[in-house]
C-alpha cells in the first residue's frame, strides 16, 4: 500500500527521522502536524566534515552479514556503477572464479544511483557512492554495514581513508578510487594555458568544443571556484543562485555541453576543453585515435586550494542478494594486483598505499604531460571536497543546475 502522510507507516518514518535527529545530537525543527515537503528532517542526516567526522548510525533491522559464511554461488552479481568505471576483464575473471555472471548497471549521476537503489525489488550487490551521499544512504537504510572480516585487503588503503571522516570506522564503505576535478584539454589546440585554468571553459575560442561534467554539484562548484569562491558546500540560496548565473554565462559564450565521457571526447578531439575528473585524462590515453600522440592530452589542476578532490567508495546495498560474494568482490578490488589491472582500464587511481605516484610514472601509466592527474596525499590534504548537504539545500543546488540546463 502506498504510504499516506497520515497513516501509521508514514508516521513511523517520521518518528524514525526525528529519533535520528536526537541520535546525532542535532536539533530538529519539526512541528506536530503532517510532515510537509522538505520539513524538519533536514538535519537528520549527519553532515560529516573533515573537521567534524560523522559516525553513521546502525539499524537493528539492517544487520551486517555474519562472519565465516561461504560465498553465494551461481546467478548474477549485480554492480551499480558509472559507465566505463570498472574493468570488464576484472569482472569476468572474478565471475569465472566464483561461477557467477558479473553484470554492471550504469548511471550518470549520484541522484540516479540513489533512485535506483530505492527502487523496490532491485537487489544490487555492490554500489559505488561518493562521500556526499553515503550518510543519507545509510540513514535511509539503503546500505548494509560491512563485515570487515571479509575485507583483509582493507589494511592496504590510504591511512587517511582507513577511518574516513565521512564514515568513521568504515562502517558502510571502503575507498575505491581517488581523483581530482580539473580541466582536461587538447594541448595541441589550446593556444596558451591561462594561469586560472578554469578560464579555458569560459574562452569563446573553444566554442562548441567545451564541456562541463554533467553533475549538479560538480558543475556549480566549478563556477564557484573559477570565481574564487571556495564555499562549495554552501546552503546559502544566494550563493547557489550566483553559481548558477556564473555557469549560465557559458551558454551564450561557448554553447557549452554537459557530459561525463571526457576520456573519449578529448581523445578523439570532439572536445577541446572538458571539465573532467583526473582519471578521465589517464583513461583518454587509451582512446586516442591511431597516429595521435599521447602528448596532446593535458590536464590542469590548481596549485592553490581552489581544486576539488574526490574519492569514490564501495558499499553493499541493503537488499543485496549475494552479500558475502559482494564483500569478496570488494576485497578483490582492494587487492593491489587487481587494483592495478583495474586502474589500467579505468584510469582512476586506486586509493591504495601500494600504488604510489612514483610507481604510476615509472610504470608508464601517465605521460609527463599528465603528471597533474596524480592525486598525492598532499593534494588530498589541501583540496576541497564535495560533501553531504541537507536535503533542502540539495533541492536548491538541483534547481540551479536545472535552470542552467534549461538554457536561455
Amino acid at each position: 500500500m502506498p504510504p499516506h502522510p497520515r497513516d501509521p507507516l508514514n508516521r513511523r518514518l517520521f518518528l524514525q527521522v526525528a529519533g535520528l535527529t536526537t541520535l546525532t545530537g542535532l536539533a530538529a525543527a519539526c512541528g506536530g502536524e503532517r510532515p510537509g515537503r522538505r520539513a524538519a528532517a533536514a538535519s537528520a542526516v549527519p553532515l560529516s566534515r573533515p573537521t567534524s567526522p560523522a559516525t553513521l548510525p546502525l539499524h537493528a533491522d539492517v544487520p551486517a552479514v555474519a562472519s565465516g559464511l561461504e560465498p553465494e554461488k551461481g546467478g548474477t552479481l549485480k554492480l551499480l556503477n558509472y559507465a566505463e568505471y570498472i574493468s570488464p576483464d576484472v569482472c569476468k575473471a572474478f565471475g569465472k572464479e566464483h561461477g557467477v555472471e558479473v553484470e554492471v548497471t550504469v548511471f550518470t549521476t549520484m541522484d540516479e544511483m540513489i533512485a535506483k537503489l530505492r527502487t523496490a525489488g532491485e537487489g544490487f550487490d555492490v554500489c559505488f557512492p561518493t562521500p556526499d551521499v553515503i550518510a543519507k544512504a545509510a540513514v535511509g537504510k539503503l546500505l548494509q554495514p560491512l563485515n570487515a572480516s571479509y575485507l583483509p585487503h582493507l589494511a592496504g588503503v590510504w591511512p587517511q581513508l582507513r577511518d574516513p571522516f565521512y564514515d568513521k570506522g568504515s562502517r558502510y564503505t571502503v575507498p575505491y578510487n581517488a581523483y581530482t576535478s580539473g580541466i582536461g584539454y587538447r594541448a595541441d589546440r589550446v593556444k596558451s594555458l591561462p594561469s586560472n585554468g578554469y578560464d579555458l571553459l569560459w574562452d569563446a575560442a573553444y566554442k562548441g568544443k567545451s564541456y562541463v561534467i554533467d553533475d549538479a554539484r560538480e558543475g556549480l562548484a566549478l563556477a564557484m571556484l573559477r570565481n574564487g569562491v571556495t564555499d562549495i558546500n554552501t546552503e546559502d540560496p544566494a550563493k547557489i543562485k550566483q553559481a548558477g548565473a556564473w555557469l549560465a554565462e557559458l551558454i551564450p559564450r561557448t554553447g557549452v555541453k554537459v557530459g561525463i565521457s571526457a576520456y573519449q571526447l578529448v581523445a578523439e578531439g570532439q572536445a577541446t576543453v572538458h571539465h573532467c575528473w583526473s582519471g578521465d585524462m589517464i583513461n583518454a590515453q587509451a582512446y586516442l585515435p591511431k597516429g595521435v600522440d599521447a602528448e596532446v592530452l593535458g590536464y590542469w589542476y590548481p596549485d592553490a586550494s581552489l581544486g576539488v578532490v574526490g574519492t569514490d567508495t564501495m558499499a553493499v546495498p541493503r537488499n543485496a542478494t549475494k552479500p558475502v560474494l559482494a564483500h569478496m568482490f570488494i576485497d578483490h578490488l582492494l587487492d593491489p594486483k587487481v587494483a592495478e589491472q583495474n586502474f589500467s582500464y579505468t584510469g582512476y587511481q586506486p586509493a591504495l598505499t601500494a600504488i604510489t605516484p612514483e610507481k604510476m610514472v615509472t610504470d608508464g601509466f601517465v605521460t609527463e604531460q599528465l603528471k597533474s592527474t596524480i592525486v598525492t596525499p598532499d593534494v588530498y590534504a589541501r583540496s576541497l571536497q564535495i560533501l553531504q548537504i541537507s536535503p533542502p539545500a540539495e533541492a536548491l543546488w538541483n534547481d540551479a543546475w536545472a535552470a542552467f540546463k534549461a538554457g536561455r
Binding site: P5, A41, A406
Partner: protein
C-alpha cells in the same frame, strides 16, 4: 407489437453483452495501465516529498492535494527558467513540422498520383525508415555529422565551407533537422493514404470544367487532403513535443534543451520527481489543448466538404 419490441430490446441487450464482453479486457487494461497511471502522475505532482531523499510520496486523496510545487512549475514556465524551454520546444516543433509539410506533402502527392509503375518500389523505399529503429537512424547521422564525417568532407570538397561545421555542438539546426528526419516517415504515410483515396474523377471533372492542373490541385486536391494533412501533422507533432533523446544525441547542450529533457532530468536523473510530474501535467494540458483544436478543425474541415 409490444412483444416484438421487447424481444428486439432483449436481443439488443444480449448483443451488447457479447460486444461489451469482447471489449472488456482491452478496456480494463487501458483503464488500469493508462488512466490510473495518469492519476498517479497527479498524485505525485500534488503529493509530498520524504524529508530524507526528496523522494515523492504520492497523495492519492485529492482532498489533501498540495499545489505548491505545481504552482512553482507554472510560475517558472511562465516567467522563470522553464519559459525558454517551452518556447524553444514550440519553436523547434513548429519549424520541424513546417519542414515536414514542405518535404512530405510533395513526396506523398507524387507517390499517390504520379509515381506510376514505380509506385510499389517507391512506396517500399519511403516506408523503409518506418521499420528502422529510431535510435539507429539517429546513430547514422551521428556518424555523418562528426567534425571529420562525410557531410563536412562533402562540403569541404565542394568549397562551400573552409573549416568543418560543428554540427553536433549544440546546433539548433541540427536538432530541427534530426527531428524532421526522425519523424517525417510518420508524416508522409498517413498523408499518402489520404491522397491515394482522392477520387480521380473529381479531378477529371475539374479539368473538364476548364481548371488548370494547378487550380484543380488548389480547389480539389488540397481541400480534400486537409483532413489527412492535419492528421499527419498531429501524428508527427505530438511525439516531437515529448522528444528528449534526439536533442540529447545530436546536441547535448543546454542551448537546445527541450521540455522532454527537463522531464527526464527531474524524473530519472534528479531528485525532485514531484516537479517532473508537474511538468508532465503541464505538457499534457498543452497537448490536450492542441488535440482539441485539431478535433474541432478536422470536424470543421469535414463539414465544409459535405
Amino acid at each position: 407489437m409490444r412483444v416484438t419490441g421487447r424481444a428486439t430490446a432483449r436481443r439488443g441487450v444480449a448483443r451488447t453483452g457479447l460486444w461489451a464482453a469482447l471489449a472488456a479486457p482491452g478496456t480494463l487494461w487501458l483503464l488500469a495501465l493508462f488512466a490510473v497511471p495518469f492519476y498517479a502522475v497527479a498524485a505525485v505532482a500534488f503529493g509530498y516529498t520524504d524529508p530524507l531523499f526528496n523522494a515523492p510520496i504520492p497523495e492519492w486523496d485529492p482532498r489533501y492535494w498540495d499545489v505548491t510545487t505545481f504552482g512553482e512549475v507554472v510560475q517558472r514556465s511562465l516567467t522563470g527558467d522553464l519559459r525558454p524551454v517551452f518556447l524553444r520546444t514550440l519553436l523547434y516543433v513548429g519549424v520541424a513540422l513546417t519542414v515536414c509539410v514542405l518535404i512530405g506533402y510533395p513526396v506523398a502527392y507524387y507517390l499517390a498520383r504520379h509515381a506510376g509503375r514505380r509506385k510499389g518500389l517507391l512506396l517500399a523505399l519511403v516506408l523503409a525508415p518506418w521499420w528502422i529503429n529510431y535510435i539507429t537512424r539517429m546513430l547514422a547521422w551521428l556518424n555523418l555529422l562528426q567534425d571529420d564525417g562525410y557531410v563536412n568532407d562533402l562540403l569541404m570538397a565542394g568549397h562551400l565551407i573552409s573549416e568543418p561545421v560543428r554540427w553536433l555542438s549544440g546546433n539548433p539546426y541540427t536538432v530541427i533537422l534530426a527531428l524532421v528526419y526522425g519523424y517525417i516517415p510518420f508524416f508522409i504515410v498517413p498523408l499518402f493514404s489520404t491522397l491515394d483515396r482522392v477520387d480521380e474523377r473529381l479531378l477529371e471533372a475539374a479539368r473538364d470544367l476548364g481548371c488548370t492542373g494547378a487550380r484543380a490541385f488548389w480547389h480539389v486536391t488540397l481541400p480534400l487532403s486537409r483532413h489527412g494533412l492535419m492528421t499527419a501533422a498531429a501524428i508527427t507533432a505530438l511525439p516531437m513535443f515529448g522528444d528528449y533523446y534526439t536533442t540529447t544525441l545530436v546536441s547535448g547542450s543546454p542551448t537546445t534543451t527541450m521540455v522532454g529533457n527537463q522531464i527526464e532530468f527531474y524524473l530519472l536523473g534528479g531528485s525532485r520527481k514531484e516537479l517532473g510530474a508537474s511538468l508532465v501535467l503541464i505538457l499534457s494540458a498543452l497537448l490536450m489543448a492542441l488535440m482539441a483544436y485539431y478535433l474541432i478543425a478536422t470536424r470543421r474541415a469535414e463539414r465544409d466538404l459535405t
